[in-house]
Symmetry: C2
Subunit: 468 residues, 2 copies
């Protein structure tokens, strides 16, 4: 077997390393593994029947070719790519861009970038959306509108907001400044695309928003930004070979799910912190936060019983959060696991200069590669948590690159399905967001929601308790 | 009493609104209030004795004048302000800049801004630090180096990294491109300032990093960026009048601390989510995340007993996280409180255009003020959580402005001291970060840490458990 470019070091999740009663025991893994194998058999059968298309998105050559053709066609034409979407329609694209483009991307010159700047106003906040619109004149901008249903209120509102200046500035050509990513056949956006002849890409049916990063949702903006999407998919393909492996040691996604589940249910670690040691990976942790929370946080289990279950994922950033959260992580309650993501190599080197050599407590840093400091801090935090009996594991990436990121995202998606099985919930639905949507429609006075509106008005009459 | 521009609506924290066994009861507040009053008496006495200087930072006219003079002196001279600091030295400045400058600040032209761009590389990540250095040529840049001790490894490393290109580019004038914020008399940075004649501002002794936003740590960069720091301090002053009030209804900081503590200890709400509905306030939530975690997350209580206590603060963003976390928040375990921060008015208006009027499920948005949608979503989420028996409260800001932000930050700092008393921990120390620092020094080969290094080397010999 060739050396993997992505490894999961679980040493410090184990009782051997962090102490009995704190870590997961080998016996517990042995005990749960048959259940995991059983779940994997079920998932494999569902994959084969085509019920879980996310497992094989990397095989969709048609999709990739069409994206590449479009990216080639518009190359050099736009200074800005503005992606309008929210949740799964935004988090994947942001994670890819942050991980795989320089962190100063939007501040580089057109010549340095050779691809558009990238803005994702993923909130109907007028101050944020307005700020993006102000710096992206329609003449120079391609708008990628992303909503699977074609009806997401936040996304459609932002779309209607950018449409006015777009049509005003470009009464003839506005259609060419739009590209939609939506359902293959249904919904408003698909209808508009057909009526107006606007280019539209599809999100395959059966792939939910939080599992859509390897569809045109993630791949189209990535390709437009010059990211090698074939390498990304090759990484996913590599991991796809492992997700049904039968051994703990060769199945990182199942091992990850099992360890998180055991630490939660057997050791009370109900919060799952993901803490990359690289600014470029912080938004990968944020993407994971949606995946894990929305998939596993459920009121009912598969038997229809009220369980109110699910771990709470938390995104943190090393070393920055050592100066914010690590005090709590090391000394607070024993209610968390930690997943570090650490690259072995950074894509840029910065060295500390030799200055103030007369001061010993400064001079020990002179000449140091800053990346060495960051990696030392990751190891130091792992050791501090271990000494404090806190379960922690580490994804080690050979480097941050399209293939390792593709592999990591695929791994975490696969782990989520396994975890869904262990928690006995449906990891593919999100019934809990419905009530908020209905209340929003009612508050906006949308027709058909009059009864809800009346109910809200009645509730509004109740006295408030205000402190001031 | 004049109408407050900042109010705390606690209606939905109460059992009356969200259900018995889920919310806090009036009886529980009555019961704990004498304890809160007792704590406040102690804090007030310590304030009077000068032991808790953060309470009166807004009265420091000398500090403000000196900051304003310096800001006036360098006005128009620099295109970039690069703040090098981490933790409390960075989170306050970032919170102020994000809240009080347009969100596209760094993309505006020099004429539009009339003040420098702002970068805070608060991590020794070579990819991040290098990216900032690349877009900020030393000739155009003022570097504000911020570390109270003058010895923070991450900060000193970044400082040594920028020094080389700075001195190369400006062999004569480099000192004028530096401004330090550090201890009034001790530490490396103070020593360097004296030796080299570099301008240095002080962090008053007795004010820890996470309570330092109203010192030169936060005020100097704010003033350099053109933020009205007198209004900010006036807001803090306004809240300072309330923090020892004896009634629940007129003491927002004590009420906030008491409700969070009761929801945690009596209802199991061990996670405290802060969720502003405004992109500009997300970093205020992140600033609070340090304040709450590092102050309350403690191994030992004041009696020296091992308690491993402390709530876990979580930053979320509305409406964005409705599409990421709200599924879990509404349906998952009953282990969280929610603090919304909602402005009554936004500083910019954006309207949805009237397009595709033939599609009813799009047309209901036509003409809508996007800010109205965002506020409707905040209310909808509050209602959904309330219906699901989840304790939630809301800071209502008349608008996002220096005074309301100053008031909010002061309120949360004051609440933290009260909460420290309720949890019976010292909210001003952070002993748990020491182990990681020592391990980092050992790994970097700093002299004096040879024994620790030997220990680490021994541990490194132990076999790892790798999944790949």
């Amino acid at each position: 077997m060739s050396e993997s470019r992505l490894k999961l070091d679980v040493t410090r999740m184990m009782a051997d390393a962090i102490g009995k009663g704190y870590g997961v025991s080998s016996g517990e893994i042995e005990q749960i593994w048959p259940r995991v194998m059983n779940l994997l058999q079920g998932l494999e059968a569902r994959r084969k029947s085509g019920e879980l298309p996310f497992y094989t998105l990397h095989e969709n050559e048609d999709m990739v070719s069409r994206i590449e053709e479009y990216a080639e066609k518009v190359r050099g034409r736009f200074k800005n790519l503005v992606l309008i979407g929210i949740g799964g329609s935004a988090l994947g694209p942001i994670a890819l861009a942050d991980a795989l483009l320089p962190l100063n991307w939007n501040h580089l010159s057109d010549e340095e970038r050779k691809a558009p700047r990238f803005f994702v106003p993923d909130n109907p906040d007028p101050e944020y959306l307005g700020a993006v619109m102000e710096v992206c004149p329609p003449e120079d901008t391609l708008y990628n509108i992303v909503t699977k249903s074609g009806g997401t209120a936040e996304t459609m509102a932002a779309y209607l907001a950018v449409m006015t200046p777009l049509k005003e500035a470009l009464p003839e050509e506005w259609r060419e400044h739009l590209v939609f990513t939506t359902d293959p056949s249904k919904g408003n956006l698909r209808k508009i695309a057909r009526n107006e002849g606007i280019t539209a890409f599809s999100i395959p049916s059966g792939v939910g928003g939080r599992f859509s990063v390897m569809t045109s949702v993630g791949l189209l903006p990535a390709a437009l930004l010059g990211i090698n999407i074939r390498d990304l998919l090759a990484g996913a393909a590599e991991q796809s070979e492992k997700v049904f492996n039968r051994e703990f040691e060769t199945n990182p996604s199942a091992a990850y799910a099992a360890l998180q589940y055991l630490a939660h249910t057997q050791r009370g670690a109900r919060m799952h912190v993901m803490m990359p040691y690289a600014n470029s990976l912080y938004r990968v942790a944020d993407w994971f936060r949606q995946l894990w929370a929305e998939s596993l946080g459920k009121r009912m289990n598969l038997q229809g019983e009220v369980v109110n279950t699910g771990p709470t994922p938390i995104a943190a950033l090393g070393a920055t959060d050592q100066h914010s959260q690590v005090q709590l992580y090391v000394e607070g309650p024993h209610d968390k696991t930690f997943t570090f993501v650490v690259p072995r190599n950074f894509r840029r080197k910065v060295h500390c200069g030799k200055h103030h050599s007369d001061i010993e407590s400064v001079d020990y840093l002179a000449g140091l590669d800053v990346g060495v400091l960051l990696r030392a801090e990751a190891e130091a935090t792992q050791r501090a948590l271990t000494a404090a009996h806190r379960p922690n594991m580490t994804f080690v990436l050979e480097e941050i690159a399209p293939d390792t990121i593709g592999e990591l995202l695929y791994l975490l998606e696969a782990a989520t399905l396994v975890a869904g099985g262990l928690y006995e919930v449906n990891p593919l639905d999100q019934p809990g967001v419905e009530a908020g949507k209905v209340a929003t429609y009612a508050l906006l006075g949308r027709s058909g929601y009059e009864d809800h509106r009346a109910e809200i008005e009645k509730e509004r009459q109740r006295p408030s308790k205000i402190v001031q």
